[in-house]
Symmetry: C2
Subunit: 330 residues, 2 copies
C-alpha cells in the first residue's frame, strides 16, 4: 500500500506539501497541487486512518449502539444512519448492547482510544452520569432515548403523544376497558415512562380508571403477545381493547386471538407501535403508531456531524413527529 512517502518521492515535493494537498490546506501553489494530485492518483494512494487516528485526527467513524439489530425498528434505524453517514464520508461501527451495561461501556471505550469520533446511543443502560463521563473523549448523541438533563443533544420522538394518540383513538372508537402492554415498566420514571404518561393522559381526559390487571410490562416478542392473549382470554372481566408497545407483540396477540376464536376488532381491538412491515401483513392489518425512523437516523447523523465539526456547539434537542396509522385492527 502506498504511503505518503511514496507520494513524496514520486512528486518530488515535501511531506508537508503533500499533506497539505491531502487535507485541502491553503498555501500550496496550483502547480504543485496538480503534481501531488497526479501522483496520488497514479499510486492509488489512500491515507492510512490508523496513522491519522494516532496523530489525534478525526476517524470519520461514528459508533452506534443499539439493543439488538434483529428488532426491525433498529435495523431500519441503522439503515438510515448508515446511508446518511456514508453520504458524508463517514463509516458506521455498530454494536449491539443486548441491554448489557458492560457491553455498553466496552463500546464507549472506543471513544477513549479514538476509534470513533462520536457515538450515537439509541438506548442507555448505564446511568447517565456514567455515560456523561465519556463526553470528554468524544461526542455523544442520544437518539430515541433521553435523560432529563441537558447534557447530550437528543433526537427524540414524541412518545407521550404517540401513546396518547393511540389510546385516544381507542376511546373514540367507544372503548372504555383498555389494556396496556409495554416493553418497559409501568413507573412514572422507569423505562417507557413517556408512553405511560401518554396512556394516562388519554385515560384521564376520558375519566377512565386504569385496571391494574390489564397492565403488562416488559413485553417484547411475538411469543410474549401470544402468552398475554392467552391470559386475557381466561379473564372473567376482559378488556375490549389493547394498546401495545410494539407491532411484534400486537402481532402475537392477533395470531393467538384468532386461534382462540376471537374476532378482531369486534371482540377485541388491538393497536401496535412502530408501523413495522408486519403491520400490513397481519390479518387484520394492524392499526399502529408510525415512528419516522428514516428521519430519526438522518437527523442524528446531521447533528452528530455538526457536533464533530464544532465540539462546543450548544446542546440542542429535536423532537420528530409521530402519527397514528389506522388500519383494520381497531
Amino acid at each position: 500500500m502506498a504511503t505518503i512517502s511514496d507520494v513524496v518521492k514520486l512528486s518530488g515535493l515535501s511531506k508537508t506539501t503533500v499533506s497539505r494537498v491531502i487535507n485541502n490546506h491553503p498555501y500550496v501553489s496550483k502547480e504543485n497541487r496538480e503534481i501531488v494530485l497526479n501522483s496520488i492518483k497514479e499510486l492509488g494512494y489512500v491515507p492510512n486512518p490508523s496513522a491519522r487516528r494516532l496523530r489525534g485526527q478525526l476517524t470519520t467513524t461514528i459508533g452506534v449502539i443499539i439493543p439488538r439489530i434483529v428488532n426491525p425498528f433498529f435495523s431500519y434505524l441503522v439503515n438510515a444512519i448508515e446511508q446518511a453517514a456514508f453520504k458524508q464520508g463517514y463509516q458506521v461501527l455498530i454494536s449491539q448492547s443486548n441491554e448489557d451495561k458492560n457491553k455498553e461501556i466496552a463500546f464507549l471505550n472506543l471513544l477513549k482510544t479514538k476509534q470513533v469520533d462520536g457515538i450515537i446511543m439509541t438506548s442507555i443502560e448505564n446511568d447517565w452520569d456514567i455515560i456523561q463521563s465519556y463526553k470528554e473523549y468524544g461526542s455523544i448523541l442520544l437518539c430515541n432515548d433521553y435523560v432529563n438533563q441537558d447534557v447530550f443533544p437528543m433526537i427524540r420522538l414524541d412518545q407521550v403523544k404517540g401513546a396518547y394518540l393511540g389510546v385516544r383513538h381507542l376511546i373514540e372508537r367507544g372503548h372504555q376497558k383498555i389494556a396496556y402492554c409495554t416493553g418497559g415498566l409501568f413507573d412514572d420514571e422507569g423505562k417507557g415512562k413517556d408512553r405511560n404518561h401518554g396512556f394516562q393522559k388519554a385515560l384521564n381526559e376520558a375519566a377512565i380508571k386504569v385496571n391494574p390487571k390489564w397492565i403488562f410490562i416488559d413485553q417484547h416478542t411475538v411469543e410474549d403477545g401470544k402468552r398475554i392473549m392467552k391470559q386475557i382470554v381466561e379473564m372473567d372481566d376482559r378488556p375490549t381493547a389493547i394498546f401495545t408497545g410494539s407491532d411484534q407483540v400486537a402481532g402475537g396477540m392477533i395470531m393467538e386471538a384468532k386461534e382462540q376464536g376471537l374476532t378482531i376488532p369486534d371482540d377485541l381491538a388491538i393497536i401496535g407501535f412502530d408501523d413495522q412491515p408486519i403491520a400490513e401483513i397481519l390479518d387484520p392489518k394492524l392499526t399502529t403508531i408510525r415512528q419516522p425512523v428514516d428521519q430519526l437516523g438522518e437527523k442524528s447523523i446531521e447533528v452528530m456531524i455538526e457536533m464533530l465539526k464544532n465540539p462546543d456547539m450548544e446542546i440542542k434537542s429535536y423532537e420528530l413527529p409521530i402519527e397514528l396509522i389506522v388500519r383494520q385492527s381497531t
Copy 2:
C-alpha cells in the same frame, strides 16, 4: 487516556517489559508481570488500537458486507456474526453494499489500510478476480455466496437442496402446475442459479415441464409479491402452486391472494424461503425453507478467526444443512 508510558512510569519497568506483559510474551519474571498487571489495572490502561494497527498488528476488527440490513435474513445473520465475534474479542464493522460495486470496493479498501483484519462477504457484486486481488491485504471469506473457484473459504447453505425440497414437497402434494419466483435470474449461471437447479431437478424427476409464463425473476419485496399475485389471478391458465425465493414475497402473495378472494392453500399453494419471523405470523402460516442463519454466522466467524491466526491455512468450504418447514400454506 493512559498510555503504555504511564504504565512504564507507574511500574518502574521498561516499555519492553510492559509490552511483553500486555502481549503475553515469555521472558518476563513472575514478579514483574504482577507489578505491570497491577499498574495496568490501576490506570485502567487499554492498548491503543490505532497504534497497534499502525505498527502492523491485528486490528481485531472483522468487516462484514451485506446487501442491506433491513432484510431480516441479513439482520439475523449480522446478529449471529456480531455475537460470535464479540465472544472472541473481535469487533464487527458492517457495511451495506446496496448491491453497488463501488461501495463494495470502498469497503474492501479497508483491508489495504489495515482497518479490518478480514472481511466476510455475504454477496459479491464485483467479479471474483477483482475481489481476489484484495486477498493479499487480508482474509476474505464468502458467507452464503460463492464462486466456482477455490480461492476463498466459503460457508454455504445447500441452496440446490433447499429449492429441491420445497418443489418436491409441492409435487408430493399433487401439484403439477408450479410457478417459480426468484430474487435472482432464471439462468444456469446467474444469480440464484443453485435454487434454479434445485427447482429443475425436482421438476425433472416428476417429468414436469417448466411453463415460462410462470417464471418471475428479480423479485424481493412484499410489494413484488402482491404485484405477481395480481398477474397470476388474471392468467387464463393459472398455476396451482408457487415456489418463492423469499418469505417476504410469499407474504405479499398471500395478502393479495386473500384480497382477491383466493383460498390458500386450496386455490393456490405457496411456499416461502428463509423461515423469517413473518412466516409464523402470516395467515395461513407459511410453509418455507429454513436456513440455519445462526450457524452460518457462527461458522463464518470460527473460520475467519482460524484464517487470521493462520493465513496460509488450506482453503476449505463448508455446507450447512437446510430444511423444509411445513406449515399451512401448502
